[in-house]
Symmetry: D2
Subunit: 359 residues, 4 copies
């Protein structure tokens, strides 16, 4: 068995927009935890956001190791853990609920009412506790999933993204066989939503965006019809190609301020809108239209109801591939370049991955 060093390299947030790679103490797993030697940790939009401006219950500058999308190998297990063994290849999800609040008791741990309350047991790796841009990370076993050899670490690092979309699909009922599905916004989550809708046998999947390269990627993921809003009117196209009825499901992942209203207009009567992207500024919506059409809107957060376990299953069966999204990777030393590549979409970057143990 490999020896675990006392010190490790980690990316620490020292202040707003101040990332620093430095040596820190290697953490130890608690009774229900495992220690993971991180192979791959992906950059997420929420990382960019919390680096810029602190999120709720964020650990103090100078000690906060960011990163919540990672995968690696189990290096040590807590005293009560027999579900995992040293050497297991694993991927993680971010949220461990307190287990004792009203929401957690119903299984809604991603909406834990004790968010950020360490005493009561809540942990969100990379948000309220340390995360995965480091050589090692500690995770409660509820946030850890074994992966087969057939899943590469780069793909496994993206598993929360698939888990999040699956959680969204389960939230809206989980059954879309033969349904008309529109996805707005070909970002990572939107592209995965296309793939999930395809895997779950939707009738026709429309993908709406502005950049042809991303729309092309959408076709790879399973889109039947891509609509570049600079060239076509998406409302007109969707109305026409759904026999005048509109979409059964609209997945809004653009985060654009006009997104929610556009989703309402695309929806059929009794349609559903799943929100996975959120504008920062208030968005205006014609609620009378929502009423006339009897539309439900589902805003989700995180990767709830253990959908990351389902995500591992889908990947291991080859029912969806996230590899096309893993466009770039860097060693830990180049973490700033990784973030820059991600935020500026250099070289058509979609997801950018850092390898903390790569020399």
């Amino acid at each position: 068995m490999e020896k675990i060093p006392k010190k490790m390299q980690a990316v620490v947030l020292m202040g707003p927009n101040q990332l620093e790679t430095k040596e820190v103490e290697t953490p130890s797993p608690g009774p229900q935890d495992v220690l993971i030697k991180v192979n791959a940790c992906a950059v997420c939009g929420s990382d960019v956001s919390l680096i810029e401006k602190p999120w709720e219950a964020q650990p103090p500058y100078g000690s906060f190791i960011i990163g919540h999308e990672y995968a690696g190998t189990v290096s040590a297990v807590g005293e009560t853990v027999d579900e995992f063994e040293v050497g297991d290849r694993v991927a993680v999800e971010a949220s461990y609920g307190c287990g004792r609040c009203r929401n957690c008791r119903h299984g809604n741990y991603t909406a834990c009412l004790n968010y950020g309350n360490l005493k009561r047991g809540h942990r969100a790796n990379g948000f309220t506790t340390n995360g995965g841009f480091a050589q090692y990370a500690v995770n409660h076993i509820n946030t850890v999933h074994k992966i087969p050899d057939s899943i590469e670490f780069n793909e496994a690092a993206l598993i929360t993204n698939l888990g999040c979309i699956l959680y969204g699909f389960q939230t809206i009922g989980g059954y879309v066989v033969g349904d008309q599905v529109v996805v707005v916004g070909p970002g990572p989550l939107g592209l995965i939503a296309v793939g999930v809708a395809k895997a779950l046998c939707a009738e026709k999947i429309f993908l709406v965006g502005t950049r042809d390269s991303r729309l092309e990627m959408g076709k790879t993921m399973g889109a039947d019809r891509v609509i570049n809003v600079n060239e076509e009117d998406p409302l007109k196209v969707i109305r026409e190609e759904t026999n005048g009825i509109g979409a059964d499901l609209v997945v809004e992942s653009s985060g654009n301020v006009r997104g929610p209203q556009m989703a309402a207009e695309m929806s059929k009567r009794m349609g559903k809108i799943l929100l996975v992207g959120y504008p920062e500024e208030p968005a205006a919506v014609n609620f009378s239209l929502l009423g006339m059409r009897n539309i439900n809107i589902y805003a989700i957060r995180g990767e709830g109801w253990a959908n990351c376990a389902r995500a591992v299953s889908m990947l291991s069966k080859g029912r969806i591939s996230l590899m096309p999204l893993a466009t770039h990777s860097f060693p830990l030393a180049n973490v700033k370049e990784a973030f820059k590549t991600f935020t500026e979409r250099i070289g058509g970057a979609i997801k950018v991955i850092v390898h903390p143990n790569e020399v």
Copy 2:
């Protein structure tokens, strides 16, 4: 058996804001219809709206008899009808779906995709076909419910309101035992929502409004805590009195442009918002908050899933009373006064009822 006259008195919409009481032909029931001698027909906010400006698929001026909230006695039955007999006391709901579209086939007849398409069979009494401000009205039997003698016609005329709120509660899951419920807006639907939340064993019911008289009525309907926004900050009160957690369910019935955002702020993580009132102008909402809190929004229309039958059951068992809402009534000749009383809330009017067969 009473003879049915060939001609009858009815309130016909002659043009925008032009109601005229005139003699017209008494209608005949089709094979699956009944003819109802209308005892009581209530004024609804949607009547006021469509009188002012025509709604989708409205019959032409000069022939359109309005009114969709009514009750009376069966006077004749269609050839296939053995579910009803002449003399049955009945209340109605508005929507008869086409029965053949994708939505109707799933039981979602209030969201019929053939809305207003008479050829394909859709009918919405008082909206796309003739209604109940008349001595007689024809209804498909799906829109007719027998009522026991214990329910007065004035109360029976309001049954769609209760059916609508029950449909809303069924939409959000139907199970609110021990839940914290907020109702915003003490209009007829809001007051009934208070009563339904009470009947279904909610823990604490908050009612938010601006007029003390309506809030007092809310206490009669079952509100545990009324909040006059001119005197208290509803967000502060709700947060404090729910242990900092927020509401499990917010029923927004004010139709105020700030209503949806206020509902989001009142909601707990994983809370639900039920919309039964809709602002006409676009309303701004902080969708990031919806995301952070993992909130679902349910916009409903009509009184779906046969909830009017459930409404009759509740009324006949005395589990809720709508009589306090039936504040005023008028004979047919005074229909304009009835509308004025309703819209200007003269004498504290809540629901105003017209008696078409009252001399």
Copy 3:
């Protein structure tokens, strides 16, 4: 346009086990119907059963044309029908609910409370009204689905089978991504259940049976693990290969008297059992086990909630193929041979199809 003949050939049930192919009048479509020129009509186990002993509300001997699994071409449309045109290629489902009972109003038309009541409008083609072992058949449009050219009539004739299994999966929640699924009984419905579980991304699909040829067919449909009960103990295998937990979902389609109990034993705590096959004799079950494991059992009938439309979508997208099940076909003249082939499984017959318009 092809002329419709006044007389046609049809298979009429003259008495118990007395099928006769004879000339009868060609039926005419009502206002909401289409007339279908039948290309292919499949033999179903329920045909065999009702030929032997009449079912509830069956038409009288001497006039009853059997057959409920068919596909063909629209030859004429009823007066209100603009959803279909002459020449459309279509497949059918059996049940048209009355549309006016408590169940139909909720969309549960396959559980119509007016089953067999023609006056109130219920029709079940091939059960309570005439069916498809004939050159022409009349169907209410709710029971008719357009099919693309890519779906052969032989496959389209089997669409109710897929619709039935999809209805079952929707009944149990519709979301099985990553779940362990066991199917007991490799009959047509069981084999399709394997295919649907596969299409909807189940983790591992076990198929339990007694005949190796059928189990092989199960592999073709997507089974990951087949268990011949003559060779292995299915309980032991399933327990071992699900990590000691048991199945999330057991689909019992064997109709064996020991099937329900076996399903309970295979299930995990909080598991679900979907019944699509039913023993004729009472079956003994250890209900204490059901209680200890908190198991739900879902017994379904028919192809509800418009799942035949979803079935067409799956077939047209190539997400499942029913062609391997369509093992034999015969012209109308050989209908008795068709039934014999089906019941005696001659030549490994799975589904046997009759072509009523084949010379």
Copy 4:
């Protein structure tokens, strides 16, 4: 603050049917626990069963303190607990799930896959860990609920029974407004089911039993129609009084071997059967009938999804009363008499309560 003694009196199971009241060490709460000074602990049928023959994962004879239905006062809190304070009046539920298995992660802690696995954290007080027939008991806070002064301890001790029935109603959908409900078996759970159906606005509640005294108690709890099977044919009565349709919901709580089949016969097409009583021997059921009627069966165990919290709410609001069921009580010294009174129904005993701290 009252001092907690080092030793306490407790009822220990020494062997099959060997209860002994003896002095043992007072337990200490762990970090997420509270110590409860037990005021009242009720005898349950499962106590009787496990005294006779050990249940799964039961603690060894000589150390096992039985009892899982209790209420009392918080005497000490664990180090992380700030949700409770010493002096709080509380009631308990039995099951604390491991929180880390597939079922617990979905909120299904009463179906924990690590049942009886102490290392992984599962505890079921009075089943796999010590319970409440003692002066003090330790409970994880998830199993503890504050009660207001208006709820007597004797009633609070019965809260798991109400929680169990509420869990059952939530399992079948939770919305029974206007539904026809049959309850078979007027034991404690059956009687509470009557009360819950009443509280949730069912249309008509039938109670089926054999003893007039219990049926009378059923009327007190809210039954609209009681049927003594020695005097009337329940199937005939229910069919007639539901307009020939049958029940929307049948709650089988008799545990009789003919119960499940009788429930199927009472059910309407598309009806639901909720099982809360279970025969020990295999029960024969006509599964074809289940199929023809498209019936779902829900077997539940325990008081899941935090329904004990909802139970406290209902009791505190006076929406149901369990006091009529608390027919007898005894001090700890008379525990054997308490069990005898319960099992032999001496003096019409329904629930029998022991007061461990009563001299």
